[in-house]
């Protein structure tokens, strides 16, 4: 179901004279939320910027096909997640590394990232998150940082709520275990 802002965006988009206003509203409303979702997946700011641009371009090009029965935010979040994962796959190909080993590459990116302002504990915490399998990592970030409901996460990731709860539980356990071993 669309909320008021989403309804406004769609109606502005349907009128050729007001499409630019629809675009401005779309970007202003979702830019930051989508950026942080992407950034937590790809770590590097430049990669996040690329994925964000791709997300909005794809969304704008396909907005006329958008099914108004679902939430625009859920739809955009799904595109953003896919774009972020796509960037990681391309990175793995470019660097000639297995996609399963991408966490080591991301840990190195974190160490050299000029836009990471966390202390040593924060760095270890992020490293622990990067060690998680892809799905657990996405679920953990959505729940922990965005405080998203399982219902909404289920719509975005097309998974059952029970599976998401289990993924989050496992993720927390693994992170705590990693931190316990790393920090003295």
């Amino acid at each position: 179901m669309l909320n008021d802002i989403e309804k406004n965006i769609i109606s502005l988009f349907k009128n050729a004279d007001t499409q630019n206003r629809a675009l401005s509203l779309l970007i202003d409303t979702y830019q930051k939320k989508l950026y942080w979702q992407i950034r937590r997946i790809v770590i590097s700011h430049d990669d996040a910027d690329d994925a964000l641009q791709n997300t909005f371009i794809k969304a704008w090009q396909n907005l006329n096909n958008f099914n108004e029965n679902s939430s625009l935010f859920t739809w955009l979040y799904r595109i953003a997640t896919n774009e972020a994962l796509q960037i990681l796959r391309k990175k793995a190909q470019e660097k000639n590394i297995r996609y399963d080993d991408i966490s080591n590459y991301l840990s190195n990116t974190l160490k050299t990232d000029p836009y990471f302002k966390g202390d040593e504990i924060q760095k270890k915490f992020q490293e622990a998150i990067l060690k998680l399998p892809e799905k657990q990592r996405i679920v953990f970030n959505m729940r922990y940082y965005e405080e998203m409901s399982y219902e909404e996460m289920a719509k975005i990731l097309d998974t059952s709520e029970g599976a998401l709860k289990a993924s989050y539980h496992h993720a927390v356990k693994k992170i705590e275990e990693y931190l316990l071993n790393q920090i003295e």
Binding site: W60, Y115, Q122, E184
Partner: protein, 194 residues
Amino acid sequence: MKQNIDIYNSEMKNNPFSVPEDYFETSALKLKEKILSNSKNFDTPEDYFETNKLKLFETITSTESHSLSIPENYFETNKSHLIHSITNTSSNKNTKTRIILFAKYVSAAAIIVGIIWSIQLFKQDINHQPILQNDCKTIACLTKQDILSNENVLDEEIIEDNISDELIDSHFQNINSSQSTPDSNSSQKLNETF
């Protein structure tokens, strides 16, 4: 010593990532520009389709007239070349046909000769020489004593084959005619035959 870290601590929940200054402000403008220009990316130059039609037509006609050209006098020289190739091929073909035909006749003749020769051999084999009395190449010259002493090595059929039917008949006739006075001569003859 290991410490316990509470990941739900508010400090831990703080976002450790940052963005370049005014990123979101400039990014929004950049995004709008990019998306709007992106939709115009596939515009064509003014009168593109009109001028392109002419260009395409020229390219296609020039390709047709030049790229499929043939050497000078190609058809004239090629005619004789073709005739030569065809006749060569047909004469070669005739020679081959003749050889195959000759081989067929030769093998047929050989088969016929073989059959005739085989028949001849077979005939020679079945033409028995008549066994003459006192012919010592056969058992005809054996005495009764010889036959009796070699009974175990003589085939019954061979013995029967070598008994003269005429002599046996005459022998039995003699017996019948002279029941009272046996003909010692004929029995002697029969004995001699054996």
